[in-house]
């Protein structure tokens, strides 16, 4: 960190104040975990923002070199712990690509169903915590109330709520349950009798119907809220050129107006999963955006996530009948000591936060020779210094929050 005071980018003000170094984090609540931002400010204006990462580094890649592929799946959970299912899926597909395995139709539709539920849960957290960053508390509570139901469903499916390790190479650890007790939270929300037994897929449908109505409320509460628009629209503008050059992916890239989604544009092994599903890829600009919004600002990134929840609901609805009609078992054989070929593969999948990549090098042993996890948030965070240049200090949480980073994934 350079401490020089002379700055070529002097902001013209009547009163020249002293420059000050402000340390934000690593335990600051609005840094979404343990991110440390070192800000060089002149009065209220941030001249330079230097992110310092690594506080959550747990040597996941080194550990991966000592474990076989199915054993490393739980470590992928702990990278992006808000979208564990999607992380499991990305790694499982990379391993399947490596050994040349083709999963059956039942696994395929089960994975779409689970991955899109995971996307909804992740985007709900993104929405709620972004509200918190901007100083409004209630959307957070609503978002977590709804997300709770998805976690209940995950718990019924695999026993874990957060670190699921559910989707593994070859399929999933268990099949979806047939009948489950209506989750208490869902019963309270819908006014249904608690304790009743319902088919698992019916519970999903009850929940989706409930969620659809709630999304309208979220839009009133946040998206169209005048204060929210003032805090987000036109602030933190990321041009498409910068977004591409800095490897931004997911809602951050699409919020900048680049129409790119790996579910449609990715490699065959991944796009095959979503073949004959109907959904729209959401990208800015939006016709119904508020007047103040610009392409690639905080508001656009937020709105992309909100609309992706609606698309994920569509996908889950299509996956349910497909899953019920599909033949086959929930898991093809993939042993704990299945040897990986002398080969190397790289595969990226569309996780809620962006494109998560796994690069696996095999040397004939069950343990990969090199297990590399390329994090989407890592790339998304790298533009924070560009976006924070020249914004008021109070807008730094608004800008960094709009990138929706999860430190577990950045530091691995």
């Amino acid at each position: 960190m350079s401490m020089q005071i002379e700055d070529p980018r002097v902001v013209e003000f009547d009163v020249q104040t002293d420059e000050m170094l402000v340390n934000m984090g690593p335990q600051h609540p609005s840094t979404h975990g343990v991110l440390r931002l070192l800000l060089r400010t002149d009065g209220e204006i941030v001249h330079e923002c230097t992110p310092h990462i690594g506080y959550l580094h747990r040597c996941a890649e080194k550990i991966g070199e000592n474990l076989s592929a199915p054993q490393w799946v739980p470590y992928t959970d702990r990278m992006d712990y808000l979208a564990a299912m999607n992380m499991n899926l990305g790694f499982s597909l990379a391993v399947e690509k490596m050994v040349g395995m083709k999963v059956n139709e039942k696994v395929r539709h089960l994975r779409v169903l689970i991955a899109e539920l995971g996307r909804i849960a992740s985007h709900l957290v993104a929405m709620g915590t972004y509200g918190l960053d901007l100083g409004t508390f209630s959307p957070f509570l609503y978002a977590f109330r709804e997300r709770e139901i998805i976690l209940d469903l995950f718990e019924e499916a695999c026993g874990a709520r957060l670190t699921c390790s559910y989707l593994t190479p070859g399929g999933a650890t268990h099949d979806l349950p047939e009948n489950i007790e209506l989750p208490d939270g869902l019963a309270a929300l819908t006014g249904m009798e608690p304790g009743g037994q319902y088919p698992f897929v019916d519970v999903i449908e009850i929940f989706l119907k409930h969620l659809e109505e709630r999304i309208k409320e979220y839009h009133i509460l946040l998206t169209r809220n005048a204060i929210f628009i003032k805090r987000t629209a036109g602030i933190g503008v990321l041009t498409p050129e910068t977004a591409i050059s800095y490897g931004c992916t997911g809602p951050v890239l699409r919020g900048s107006g680049v129409d790119y989604d790996l579910r449609r544009d990715g490699e065959d092994i991944y796009t095959r999963m979503y073949a004959d599903y109907n959904y729209d890829v959401i990208s800015a600009p939006f016709k119904d955006a508020p007047r103040e919004a610009e392409l690639g600002d905080n508001w656009c990134r937020f709105f992309v996530r909100m609309l992706e929840v609606v698309q994920a609901i569509r996908l889950v609805r299509q996956a349910i009948p497909n899953y019920l009609a599909a033949e086959g078992t929930h898991k093809e054989s993939f042993k704990l000591n299945t040897k990986l070929p002398k080969d190397e593969v790289y595969l990226e999948t569309e996780c809620p936060r962006g494109q998560m990549g796994f690069y696996i090098v095999g040397d004939g042993n069950a343990e990969p020779f090199r297990a590399r996890a390329k994090s989407s948030c890592f790339c998304n965070l790298s533009v924070s210094d560009i976006l924070c240049e020249g914004v008021p200090l109070a807008d730094v949480p608004a800008v960094v929050g709009s990138l929706d980073v999860v430190m577990g994934e950045i530091d691995r």
């Binding site: 080194k62 790289y346 390329k374 790339c379």
Partner: protein, 177 residues
């Protein structure tokens, strides 16, 4: 465009000593690029009309060394270090993998990190990826604007993803192992 066509296109511009005589076969085939020319090749594939590799998906280092004597018999690689570039084009929707092969130590002198030119002037994200590759695999990136560790603390010793890395017994009074 598939990788064979891309390689043919590269051969029109660069010599065989730069981009190799043929692609390297694997599930994801790759093109090996001479370390000295990686910046020119990167700029070319980014700016060429038919290639447009504007997106650097990943850049990482791999240490090819098998210290375990039991596994070493079946290990087919000479000790070396690879820098792997995963590229894709947003507009043309194709992918490419480039590799730069480096010695494990520069001039075979242990402790001298191998040197690779930095592509951070070509793709912005390479800045952080190269810092990580330096931090964990121990590759020196020449021309990097901010050549410092990124995940480990700045006074950390060694590079953890090297295969012969010894875990420290102690760090600032914190006991390891």
């Amino acid at each position: 465009m598939n990788i064979n066509e891309i390689h043919a296109l590269l051969l029109e511009q660069f010599s065989e000593s730069v981009v190799g005589t043929a692609i390297k076969e694997a599930t994801d085939p790759w093109i090996e690029v001479a370390a000295d020319s990686i910046v020119e090749v990167s700029t070319f594939v980014r700016d060429h009309e038919q290639l447009q590799f504007d997106h650097l998906n990943d850049l990482c280092g791999v240490d090819y060394l098998q210290p375990d004597p039991k596994k070493a018999k079946k290990f087919e690689h000479e000790p070396h270090i690879e820098v792997v570039y995963q590229l894709s084009s947003i507009s043309l929707k194709h992918r490419l993998k480039l590799k730069v092969i480096l010695p494990r130590w520069q001039n075979d002198q242990e402790g001298n990190l191998p040197i690779c030119p930095s592509v951070s002037s070509v793709w912005g994200i390479a800045n952080w990826h190269e810092r990580e590759a330096y931090d964990l695999v121990g590759i020196q990136f020449d021309g990097h604007p901010n050549h410092r560790r990124i995940l480990c603390p700045e006074d950390w010793e060694g590079h953890a993803l090297r295969k012969d890395y010894d875990f420290p017994l102690e760090y600032h009074g914190v006991r390891g192992k």
